[in-house]
């Protein structure tokens, strides 16, 4: 029994990620005395990890059906734009604006899904075109409605969300740690919801089956088109949530929100074991993959890496991590055979 658990966890890609993550944290921690500084290092690091994990989940949602979302960043900008509008033009409270923005993101995602299902054209092409359309549209709205290309109105609670940690959440006399930002709660909720969706809910499981074999899914009574639209809507909604988190972190709602999302959106899920071909997702893996890249970046920055050595080392560590993973896979396969 325990042996089997051991073997299974050895064969799991995520085990490698956890080990690597622990190793890196130990190495950086011993090299950099201030690496565990909760105000300046851990808190902001976790805030970024939280945001990028949600970005990763947004990509994961479409990877589950074997699609890609090239427009993930721009959907974040689109959703964030509605939040900005809600606060600046309609004077809505924080969470009302959040709901409107996420709904707008989900709507644009659903529209993308509808275009894909009604035309049968590859998602790469459609989301690429959508990326262009949104890039133009969002800029136009901002230059039309604002003078400094940003919605700067901050509704009540936004500032707190930016700086508050679990230390500000108390149950009786017991308060949380000041290292964990409150913003991370959004990421945890998103992970729980998406995790439940794909492991337990029929809808999410059916999305995975669509990713695995769309024809068989259709012939098994799965409403394939609806699942495709659903996955894209989920992707858009999560992207908008990530846009919100980024806007809260950086301070205002601008057209450039999400322009840096594309790379991390793939890194997290793929490092974590989500297939690009569809049919398998890993939510924890997405979190681990995102953490890994952010920890590497943070550690290297603190070690005083220059711009160039930062990218070079990041690339090399990624390759090394994945190659190690490959070695581990080969070993665990051998073991299984020689049993």
């Amino acid at each position: 029994m325990t042996l089997q658990v051991l073997r299974r966890s050895l064969a799991d890609q995520r085990t490698g990620l956890v080990l690597l993550l622990v190793l890196l944290v130990v190495v950086f921690g011993s090299l950099i005395p201030t690496f565990f500084d909760d105000r300046f290092v851990v808190f902001p690091l976790l805030r970024d990890v939280a945001t990028l994990t949600v970005v990763g989940l947004a990509q994961l949602a479409v990877l589950s059906i074997g699609h890609l979302n090239i427009a993930v960043g721009r959907m974040a900008a689109f959703g964030a734009m509605f939040m900005g509008l809600a606060y600046e033009q309609w004077h809505l409270p924080l969470y009302a604006g959040l709901v409107i923005g996420v709904a707008a993101g989900a709507a644009i995602g659903a529209l993308t899904g509808l275009i894909i299902t009604s035309s049968g054209v590859n998602s790469f092409v459609v989301t690429l075109a959508m990326d262009f359309a949104l890039l133009g549209f969002v800029s136009l709205v901002y230059s039309e409605l604002t003078t400094s290309a940003a919605f700067t109105t901050k509704p009540a609670g936004m500032q707190e969300l930016r700086t508050f940690s679990l230390a500000d959440v108390c149950v009786g006399p017991v308060c949380g740690t000041s290292a964990i930002p409150q913003l991370a709660i959004f990421a945890v909720l998103a992970m729980l919801a998406v995790g439940y969706l794909y492991s337990r809910a029929r809808t999410g499981r059916e999305m995975l089956m669509v990713g695995s074999n769309a024809v068989a899914a259709e012939l098994s009574g799965i409403p394939v088109d609806r699942r495709i639209v659903g996955a894209h809507a989920l992707s858009g909604g999560l992207a908008a949530l990530a846009g919100f988190m980024l806007a809260v972190t950086s301070g205002s709602f601008t057209a450039t929100i999400g322009s840096e999302f594309m790379l991390p959106s793939f890194l997290g899920p793929v490092l974590g074991g989500t297939l690009l071909t569809g049919g398998a997702v890993s939510i924890i893996g997405t979190f681990l993959g995102t953490s890994l890249t952010q920890v590497i970046r943070q550690g290297l920055t603190m070690l005083g890496a220059s711009v160039q050595s930062l990218s070079i080392s990041l690339g090399i560590i990624l390759l090394a991590a994945l190659s190690l993973d490959r070695v581990r896979q080969v070993i665990s396969e051998r073991k299984a055979v020689r049993r």
């Binding site: 090239i70 275009i115 299902t117 009604s118 035309s119 049968g120 054209v121 590859n122 790469f124 092409v125 459609v126 690429l128 075109a129 959508m130 990326d131 262009f132 359309a133 949104l134 890039l135 133009g136 549209f137 800029s139 136009l140 230059s143 790379l263 793939f266 890194l267 793929v270 490092l271 690009l276 711009v307 160039q308 050595s309 930062l310 990218s311 070079i312 080392s313 990041l314 690339g315 090399i316 990624l318 390759l319 994945l322 190659s323 490959r326």
Partner: protein, 314 residues
């Protein structure tokens, strides 16, 4: 039943018609100024790089791979060539083949990494992209290198009957690539690996070799694009290659190349690059705000996608 071949061909016809109609419309609205020698020269000069990077992506797509490192590799090779000539006095006759070899070499590395680690090519090239971006910055920092080989730069501006030499280079690359993929045995092996890797393997074709060859060719074509950039850009700096990635996908995909591998269209890719170029020209001619251009291009593509690809009996 419409075969894919026929569909590809009809796709190419459509693209050709769109290109001709678009060009004619721009000529008419410009009052004919687009027919002047210098306008034609400008039109084609900036087509060379899009065609080359589109082809570089096409080769990778042919085996079912993606090459995300096109821009980073192109920028790196261009900067390496520029720095070698300007700061280390490497003569141009050595620098140009050197740049091509460097491109191909990094391509081979990409391919070998994919084959040896069996990591998805998407991820491998993502990692090499990051590395190459760093190397490019390492080479030039924030400066623009421009005082290198006048011979090369004259060639970059030279034109034969108003057709720029750089465009002819791109066109020649396209023709050679088309012949290679259609008629040469290694080219067929490459497409077989892309079309059905298992069948290819069972027929004695090494998929690993196909992948390495495809990445090497992709790198080589990027090397050519880098040389063209060296010749025709006002100089090379850290920003070179920054906008190549999406452009490299746009041309082959609009041109009818399958993302899953095995089905390619060189002429479709070239035609798609022409159409994308027409959008630039229109933007300059009508002084359009780039935001509007992006929005309209995106919306029009989405609209046509919906209208022309209605999933019917297919």
């Amino acid at each position: 039943m419409i075969t894919l071949d026929a569909r590809l061909r009809s796709n190419e016809t459509t693209l050709a018609v769109v290109a001709v109609v678009g060009y004619t419309a721009l000529v008419v609205t410009s009052g004919g100024s687009l027919l002047s020698g210098s306008a034609i020269e400008t039109f084609f000069a900036y087509l060379a790089v899009p065609v080359l990077i589109g082809l570089a992506q096409l080769v990778a797509l042919a085996v079912g791979q993606m090459n995300l490192s096109v821009g980073a590799l192109g920028g790196f090779v261009a900067c390496a060539g520029g720095v070698a000539m300007a700061q280390h006095g490497v003569p141009v006759w050595l620098a140009v083949p050197g740049a091509l070899a460097l491109g191909a070499f990094v391509g081979v590395l990409n391919g070998l990494l994919v084959v040896l680690t069996r990591i998805n090519g998407f991820i491998v090239t993502l990692a090499t992209m990051t590395i190459l971006t760093g190397l490019q910055y390492e080479l030039v920092g924030t400066t623009t290198v421009s005082d290198y080989s006048p011979v090369l730069r004259d060639l970059g501006r030279a034109a034969i009957f108003h057709i720029p030499v750089v465009f002819l280079v791109a066109l020649a690359a396209a023709v050679v690539l088309a012949v290679f993929l259609r008629r040469a045995v290694p080219g067929r092996h490459l497409l077989a690996s892309g079309g059905n890797p298992l069948a290819a393997r069972l027929s004695g074709i090494s998929n690993n070799r196909s992948i390495v060859v495809a990445h090497a060719l992709s790198g080589l074509l990027i090397g050519v694009a880098a040389v063209v950039t060296l010749a025709s850009a006002p100089g090379v700096n850290q920003s070179i290659g920054g906008d190549w990635l999406l452009a490299s996908f746009a041309a082959p995909i609009i041109g009818g190349v399958a993302l899953s591998g095995g089905a390619v269209s060189v002429s479709g890719t070239v035609l798609a690059a022409v159409i994308i170029r027409l959008v630039d020209v229109a933007r300059a001619q009508f002084s359009l705000n780039p935001s509007w251009v992006n929005f309209v291009v995106g919306a029009v593509v989405l609209g046509t996608v919906v209208l022309t690809h209605r999933r019917g009996a297919a």
